[in-house]
């Protein structure tokens, strides 16, 4: 954050004289007013961190249950072992997901009291419902993780089902709150006070259906590709037994099936943005001037109100956004410079998401093709390498998708209703909080990765590399 400028449409915060002092090579802000930049970076950091864990919280229980269920059905102990070990990792992920989510609910008030004080009640309903979902989730996580030996197998399997439902539901609720920030409906304001609210109307705003669907599918992709990556890496290191093959195949199949659907839903999301937030679409595509038959920009940099060095596909954008080569696209010129989001960030984030989306689609197609031909994984080590990278790719697509959504909404925190600069906590010294939170998240990241790697590594290498026996593997 140090030295960050507030460009492209973000207004300077009120009343903060900014002095830069350079100590030990880092610039430190000394402010006596609100520090909008620090608050936004803190929010982005904690959301961007939580969302990865949340995806595993949504997707991993389902995949684990499939393994447990197949273990019961087929009596194949590999599945049962996989399920137990995934549950072990889930215990860690849930704990970290829960605490990082809690911090978010604090931060909604610590950082954005100007929004919560007025509009907190408008998004209150989905968050209340989310509270119920969290309860269900936490209760059944406790039972599922700790009662393997206390419950009969069927009851144990059933205890996992509410976790899946609650995870999907909580993703739905929280994203519907975010969708409301994109497309605020269902309330009336008078003299800075909300005078009437239709809570269900706010929750089911027009942005909710595409956004929640896109997010829930993304969660399954991140969890599926992420889990598959672990086993792909192990197989590249020579552990090619049945245990690792199944550990790769099961989550990878789930993610591969979802990928094409996700791309269709992404297209739906793009249409919704074109209708509801034309400024965001213009930033995503780097369109400055309103016109018909607008080309699609691939790559490129926006400099002085112009896209440079981009590859142009004629009529591409009009066609994609409205299914009509001559459709009109609104350019950024329609709003004053102060109301435009930072174009390059949004444009590149969008390109990255789409590129990774298609790359993952290619991986899924490769798997499907070889499976149809030979009922087996592709033999090429490049397949394993790609599978090993797929988890990272899915996370990057996820994060850049959120950057498109959130940065593209700037300078509004509630689109066309409330500016981010009006919502931020005006108390001095937010930047110290941001530094502190960053340090804590760094430590948390290191510790989480370390602990998870330890859990993954506790698989003793079989004596004979060819072996099919897992009796030596511990549950940990």
């Amino acid at each position: 954050m140090p030295g960050r400028t507030r460009d492209g449409g973000i207004e300077p915060s009120s009343g903060g004289a900014k002095v830069m002092c350079h100590g030990a090579g880092i610039a430190v802000h000394v402010l006596n007013g609100a520090d909008l930049g620090a608050a936004r970076m803190q929010m982005a950091l904690s959301l961007g961190w939580h969302i990865v864990l949340a995806c595993f919280g949504v997707g991993m229980p389902a995949i684990t249950l499939i393994a447990e269920w197949r273990g019961h059905r087929s009596g194949d102990s590999h599945y049962r072992l996989l399920a137990r070990r995934w549950a072990k990792a889930m215990g860690v992920l849930f704990a970290v997901g829960a605490v990082s989510g809690t911090i978010l609910s604090f931060e909604m008030g610590l950082l954005w009291p100007g929004m919560m004080g007025v509009y907190g009640e408008v998004i209150g309903l989905p968050f209340s419902l989310e509270g119920i979902a969290f309860f269900i989730e936490a209760i059944f996580v406790g039972i599922y993780l700790y009662a393997w030996d206390r419950l009969p197998p069927r009851a144990h399997l059933l205890a996992g089902v509410p976790i899946v439902l609650a995870g999907v539901a909580s993703a739905f609720f929280v994203v519907s709150a975010n969708a409301w920030m994109q497309r605020p409906t269902g309330f009336q304001v008078k003299d800075g006070r909300v005078v009437s609210v239709d809570p269900w109307g706010a929750m089911f705003n027009p942005a909710t259906p595409p956004m929640t669907t896109h997010m829930i599918l993304a969660a399954f992709m991140v969890a599926g590709f992420g889990m598959a990556s672990v086993y792909a890496v192990a197989m590249l290191r020579g552990r090619r037994d049945r245990y690792h093959r199944l550990g790769l195949l099961l989550p990878l199949t789930v993610a591969a099936v979802i990928t094409p659907v996700q791309i269709g839903v992404g297209d739906w999301a793009a249409h919704a943005v074109a209708d509801q937030q034309p400024v965001k679409l213009a930033a995503m595509e780097g369109v400055f001037r309103t016109g018909r038959g607008v080309p699609l920009h691939l790559g490129g940099i926006a400099i002085d109100g112009e896209m440079r060095y981009a590859l142009e596909l004629p009529y591409g954008l009009s066609l994609l956004a409205h299914w009509d080569p001559n459709a009109e696209i609104h350019g950024l010129e329609e709003v004053p410079p102060g109301d435009r989001p930072p174009v390059n960030v949004v444009h590149w984030a969008f390109q990255i998401m789409v590129a990774f989306g298609f790359a993952l689609l290619a991986l899924a197609a490769w798997l499907a093709w070889e499976w149809r031909r030979r009922r087996d994984l592709p033999r090429s080590p490049w397949f394993l390498r790609a599978a090993a990278a797929s988890g990272v790719a899915a996370v990057l697509a996820l994060e850049s998708g959120w950057v498109v959504t959130e940065v593209g909404r700037q300078p509004w925190i509630v689109f066309r209703v409330l500016r981010t600069s009006q919502a931020v906590n005006p108390a001095p010294g937010l930047v110290y909080g941001f530094v502190l939170v960053t340090v804590v998240y760094l430590l948390l990241t290191v510790a989480t990765v370390y602990v998870l790697r330890r859990l993954a590594r506790d698989v003793p290498v079989p004596v004979a590399p060819q072996e099919r026996d897992i009796s030596g593997y511990k549950v940990v």
């Binding site: 907190g120 969290f134 406790g142 039972i143």
Partner: protein, 334 residues
């Protein structure tokens, strides 16, 4: 009762549940800190880990419940509290990260240095977090959070006699509840030496918390006279008496080794304090603000409370199942 009043009551029920269940989990961390060296304290730590493990996440959700209901039901109060008290709240939030994450990490670690590192983080943040949350309660109780965004004193609002006493009391209450619960858990596990150890601590800690509450009243009298008057001669007096009587009864029951009954009286003593504060402060959530002014519109309150009522039908049996599964005598469990 009007909708805002129902909302407030539900909020207070959530707060009570958080203190009774989540608070005790923090208290477990306090005893973890005081359990002694890696060898001598090993069995105590194991008992604590066993008791907290399956339930702490569910217990923790009560806090989220309280936060979310506050911004849903009393948005302007939420904004005022969060913006003025952002320092202690940020510190509490970091403590929550440290506690939850380190606990989970320690559970799956095997090497001694890791268990020590994560254990120390878990235990340390278990002390710090209730303290800061307590200072927040003290700030609200002493009327130091005015309506509006960051209008209060950013430091003085939570560093003052009432807040510091409330912070200390929060740590004390957490520790006390934990050893009351742990005594019975140890008994169920058949560990006579641990029963004796936690019983002794419960007695000492109970006396200390009682004394601290008395000091708290004196502090209140000097620092927050309005609340003091309500507690000692107004509407909240019966609740204060309940707390005192239940607290004394707990000490007696602990002395006589009635480990199940003492759970109830200890909880009642804490509830008396919390509801005494609530009733004493009612109906002004912040100075000069009436509940009706601060409350959300009726449509929001009705929708949220209605959903919670439906949710409760799902939740209560599930919670019961959770506690029933793990309060049964433990066999080979892990």
């Amino acid at each position: 009762m009007s909708l805002p009043e129902i909302m407030l009551a539900v909020l207070w029920v959530g707060l009570t549940a958080y203190v009774l269940f989540g608070g005790a989990d923090f208290g477990g961390g306090v005893w973890d800190l005081l359990a002694g060296g890696a060898k001598t304290g090993h069995r105590q730590r194991e008992l604590i880990e066993h008791s907290i493990g399956p339930v702490w996440e569910a217990n923790h959700v009560w806090l989220i419940f309280v936060i979310v209901l506050t911004w849903t039901g009393l948005p302007s109060v939420f904004a005022a509290v969060a913006s003025t008290l952002y320092i202690p709240l940020t510190l509490a939030a970091l403590g929550i990260i440290g506690r939850g994450a380190a606990f989970a990490f320690r559970k799956v670690s095997t090497e001694l240095w890791q268990r020590r590192l994560f254990g120390a983080t878990f235990a340390f943040s278990s002390v710090v977090t209730p303290f800061f949350l307590g200072t927040v309660a003290g700030a609200i109780a002493s009327g130091r959070v005015p309506l509006g965004i960051a209008r209060g004193d950013l430091v003085g609002s939570w560093l003052n006699p009432t807040s510091v006493t409330a912070g200390a009391l929060a740590v004390g209450v957490a520790a006390y509840l934990a050893c009351v619960y742990l005594t019975r858990d140890a008994q169920r596990a058949g560990a006579a030496d641990l029963v004796a150890a936690f019983r002794r601590r419960a007695l000492v800690c109970g006396v200390a918390v009682g004394a601290l509450s008395a000091v708290g009243l004196i502090v209140l009298r000097a620092d927050t006279p309005d609340l003091y008057t309500e507690l000692t001669s107004g509407r909240a007096l019966p609740l204060l008496l309940l707390s005192v009587v239940a607290g004394l009864a707990s000490l007696a029951l602990m002395w006589w080794r009635a480990y199940v009954a003492v759970r109830l009286t200890a909880a009642l003593a804490v509830m008396g304090l919390l509801w005494g504060w609530g009733v004493g402060q009612y109906p002004a959530p912040l100075p000069g603000v009436s509940l009706d002014e601060a409350a959300a519109t009726d449509a929001v309150l009705a929708a949220s409370l209605g959903s919670l009522a439906v949710g409760a039908v799902l939740l209560l049996p599930s919670l019961w199942w959770l506690y029933a599964t793990f309060q049964r005598d433990r066999g080979k469990s892990r």
